[in-house]
Symmetry: C2
Subunit: 333 residues, 2 copies
């Protein structure tokens, strides 16, 4: 294992120290329990938005804390759920009197721990609504999941609900919006290489020099099938067609097309994937009204990509376009 780290057990804490030092204008960091909180939290009268999960998926979630997106993120150890006390501390820190939304990716540990934190917060008089994202069409159940996994849609939901909360919408409305984003979004990913979890020191899985895994999970969980590597044109078809059929997306739909790198894939390749995707969608009459191309929900240094499509309406588009100021996404302000 070759990584730019000190001791594997210190990876998350030391990275958090780096984040705190680099972005004091955006966030403050607490360590016991570990929470990344928006610098000006709690914002009085605003619904607080909290997400979290295992580390190793950066910039998600910590770099999405800031104006117009998350109020707090709870970083677990690498690929390990954060604990209920992290989520409770985050919820307390961002409660501005309008309640708190938990955005939870569908993994068993995350679900259980966020539920426990929500109960504890509720007992303290903080109203919490939780929305689970489960947009990955690759497999029905998986290694860490009952039902579909939550992946790329989570990034989009954090941006869109963050904008709505910033506008002063109430908790029920923001939660309903989050469910709508999840209901209208679908994703699928693939890998060319495994990643190495620092504490494990060896690859999570083995792929031959001429193989790829279609439908991979963001922790390297098995996907749909292992195939010989194909040109980008064919890889995109294998990811996009199951997504299009699942919702289904139809000719005339406006979508946000999100091409995501898994961590070890250069932008050059992501734009080739985007180019193939837009040709495929054009051919089917699906219009890309907005796009996001880059590595936003990663699996450490895994090489590969995922595609997420979100069916847009005027409200979702407007909230996507609203100002955001975080380390990972920033525009309009």
């Amino acid at each position: 294992m070759k990584k730019l780290i000190n001791r594997p057990e210190d990876v998350v804490r030391e990275a958090l120290e780096g984040v705190a030092a680099a972005h004091p204008d955006l966030v403050r960091v607490t360590y016991d329990p570990a929470v990344i909180v928006r610098a000006d939290a709690p914002v009085q009268g605003k619904v607080g938005i909290v997400s979290g999960g295992g580390s190793g998926h950066e910039p998600m979630h910590g770099a999405f804390v800031g104006m117009g997106m998350l109020d707090a993120a709870c970083p677990g150890e690498v690929f390990t759920s954060p604990t209920p006390d992290q989520m409770l501390a985050a919820t307390q820190a961002v409660d501005g009197g309008a309640g708190v939304l938990h955005i939870v990716k569908n993994y068993t540990g995350d679900i259980l721990n966020f539920e426990m934190a929500a109960e504890l917060a509720g007992a303290e008089g903080i109203p919490v609504e939780a929305v689970v994202t489960n947009d990955d069409v690759a497999v029905q159940d998986s290694l860490y999941t009952a039902g579909r996994r939550g992946v790329g849609v989570t990034v989009l939901a954090e941006k869109i609900t963050g904008a709505a909360a910033e506008e002063g919408r109430d908790l029920a409305t923001v939660a309903e919006l989050c469910r709508r984003v999840n209901a209208n979004g679908r994703s699928m990913g693939m890998a060319l290489t495994s990643c190495i979890v620092p504490a494990a020191g060896v690859p999570t899985f083995e792929l031959a020099d001429d193989e790829m895994e279609i439908g991979i999970g963001i922790h390297g969980e098995p996907g749909r099938e292992r195939l010989k590597v194909e040109p980008a044109h064919d890889v995109v078809r294998r990811l996009a067609e199951p997504i299009l059929e699942d919702l289904p997306f139809s000719s005339g739909d406006d979508v946000l097309a999100f091409v995501n790198g898994m961590g070890g894939t250069p932008d050059l390749e992501l734009y080739i994937v985007y180019n193939e995707l837009r040709k495929l969608l054009d051919a089917g009459g699906v219009r890309i009204a907005r796009n996001l191309v880059g590595s936003y929900i990663t699996s450490l240094e895994m090489a590969g990509c995922s595609i997420t499509l979100l069916k847009l309406d005027d409200e979702l588009t407007r909230l996507w376009d609203a100002p955001v100021k975080t380390a990972g996404l920033r525009w309009g302000a």
Copy 2:
């Protein structure tokens, strides 16, 4: 070789098609010759800023085209200089009557081709000034260079001169500013793995499973020494100390600290590197007034990082903070 591409010979063109499709609000792309031009170029009365070089270093330079940064970028084939006709076309496209600055990284091919383009543009009555960046302290001469290589400072120079041009400064002033940024900036990089150039199909160099290369170039050119892998704490010392000694930076200096990923290194590791760097600088009395942490000048999927320090003054700080709106850097507008 496993990459998300179609034919290796189509990599750059297809990625450019993806960029054009994803960012029509920011850029337009021409293909013969290949140039990425700011969507609203030429901006009348503004100095035009052009850079370029081999592809494979994304987001540099193409994703730095837009308001407050570059007016055009010339993408060569992967790790290959663009041709004089690309640079001439870029210069013509961005000339708004106030002349054009060429920002050229110090590699022999880039220098020759930009010189030829400047002569041709001059013959057409377009005043051109060229500034060469050569901030890499690792080696004096290298595989593709007489003198030091131009690396991370180039990103900072593009941002800072872009802001000055936006304010309406004249060509001589903007060029002088670019020389000042280069004179006050120093960099050094390292690699844990090689990258694979698509047209070659094999790693550019071989590194053993327990080795790193200190002082690597952004095309995988040999550095200072090959060593056993060390903790991040020691790696940062090996990069930062030669940088600090070279300018030299002194106690009391304000700096912009830029921790750059080579492409295959997760953000988690870059923030650990940043954390080590700020502790080292703190101990020496050097104050980090601004920072940039992320993968901005890459070597395809190479794992590794570079550190760039730029000594700041009030003017450089103000121009760094000025609004920028590009695919790769965006804030304040």
